[in-house]
């Protein structure tokens, strides 16, 4: 009996190797990125863990390397639970931006001593490369583009016009471009590949 339980458990695990369950609905895939402050408690509650992680990493990537503003979204994952708890405790503040709530909860989280000696990606945009993009779940990629494009719209003039299409459009374009090119593209930052698909400024 135990043998068969193990067999069933193995098959379930195998399913998780073959693909991840997080799927962005057709309706959501047509969404256009918003300003960072528009990602609020309602969005947070509806997002899964991967989308939240992607969002923080995308926002942080843009803030650090493009907008050059202090990063406000780089949080440990244990902060996620605290953010959720905050929205649950204060349902009247669901319209408050995730960035504001993250600042509130981050102030109460213990500071962890950095672990020295890992693989430190000092290059612009770090390990957020085409290879990272292709190995990430759909919702993580979607979250990354929400955060990254959201940051561009918030801080970089003209970005709304440069990236007016649905998030899914850029996801498809990046994926296909990385897939059809060599290591020079898969090892390059996703942000660089994304730029290839921005709209040109319209002539007056």
């Amino acid at each position: 009996m135990r043998f068969y339980c193990v067999l069933i458990a193995s098959l379930i695990c195998l399913g998780s190797w073959c693909g991840r369950a997080q799927v962005i609905s057709e309706k959501r895939s047509q969404e256009v990125a918003k300003n960072l402050s528009d990602y609020d408690g309602k969005w947070w509650i509806s997002a899964d863990h991967y989308e939240r992680t992607g969002f923080f990493w995308g926002a942080d990537d843009c803030e650090r390397w493009d907008a050059r503003v202090p990063t406000s979204y780089n949080l440990p994952e244990d902060a996620f639970t605290e953010i959720t708890k905050y929205y649950e405790a204060y349902p009247d503040q669901m319209a408050l931006a995730v960035v504001e709530v993250s600042k509130k909860v981050a102030a109460h989280l213990p500071h962890r001593k950095p672990l020295k000696g890992g693989e430190v990606w000092n290059n612009p945009h770090g390990f957020l490369t085409g290879f990272w993009y292709q190995t990430s779940a759909e919702s993580e990629r979607f979250g990354f583009l929400e955060g990254y494009l959201g940051c561009l719209r918030t801080y970089m003039k003209g970005s709304a016009e440069s990236y007016p299409k649905p998030i899914h459009y850029y996801d498809d374009k990046i994926w296909d471009y990385v897939d059809s090119h060599g290591a020079d593209v898969s090892q390059a930052p996703v942000a660089y590949t994304l730029r290839r698909f921005r709209d040109s400024p319209k002539a007056n």
């Binding site: 135990r2 043998f3 193990v6 067999l7 458990a9 193995s10 695990c13 195998l14 190797w17 990493w57 942080d60 650090r64 990063t71 780089n74 949080l75 440990p76 994952e77 244990d78 500071h111 962890r112 001593k113 950095p114 672990l115 020295k116 000696g117 890992g118 693989e119 430190v120 990606w121 000092n122 290059n123 770090g126 390990f127 290879f131 990272w132 190995t135 990430s136 060599g182 290591a183 020079d184 898969s186 090892q187």
Partner: protein
């Protein structure tokens, strides 16, 4: 009223029928002993090397300090720390995994493992079988464009399953993703393929 062997049996008494069955069945050979149930897989049996290796891999994967892109360490990943921690737990030789007084980066380890007298290279197709015996197997891919990557091969709960599905070896992956996946998902396909190493002494 039936009479069998001089005995009287009532119609509502089935014991004559039971006796008849007994007489007939006594001519049959004794039934063989019940087969021994299969022993549980080594990967889930405490005390086996497979179990210990899996425990070490699970501990590393759930270590919050090995998670990528932490705010106190932005842009950092910890495949080298995780691999070294697991290797220590497995009692593997550590010289090829260190560089001076720190853990070697994946690109450094790729070079050192290839030149080590304490490790030997094994074929990717054998990596899963060796790990299924509870032996530590390290997979490492160097990257001329930037940081390399290293993982440990995961013993299977159902040995042979991943191979039969063309997914072997399965690896305990700790880097910008933290998961248990086929090696094809953990390593970059557009770079030189990863190489696998096992310690000489087990």
């Amino acid at each position: 009223m039936p009479i069998v062997d001089g005995k009287y049996y009532g119609n509502d008494d089935p014991s004559w029928w039971d006796d008849l069955i007994d007489k007939l069945s006594s001519k049959q050979p004794p039934s063989p002993p019940a087969p021994t149930p299969p022993s549980p897989p080594a990967a889930i049996t405490p005390g086996t090397p497979q179990y210990k290796l899996i425990q070490a891999q699970d501990t590393a994967r759930s270590n919050p300090r090995f998670q990528p892109n932490q705010p106190d360490n932005p842009g950092a990943t910890f495949c080298n720390f995780a691999t070294c921690d697991i290797s220590k737990s497995a009692g593997a030789p550590m010289a090829a995994l260190c560089h001076g007084n720190r853990y070697a980066l994946a690109n450094e380890a790729a070079q050192q493992l290839a030149n080590s007298s304490e490790w030997h290279e094994i074929l990717p197709k054998d990596a899963q079988n060796v790990a299924n015996q509870g032996t530590l197997v390290i997979g490492v891919q160097s990257n001329p464009y930037g940081h390399g990557h290293m993982v440990t091969v995961r013993p299977e709960t159902m040995p042979g399953l991943a191979t039969s599905l063309g997914q072997a070896p399965i690896v305990n992956n700790i880097g910008h993703d933290v998961n248990v996946v086929p090696a094809g998902q953990a390593f970059e396909k557009k770079l030189a393929p990863p190489r696998y190493y096992a310690p000489n002494r087990r």
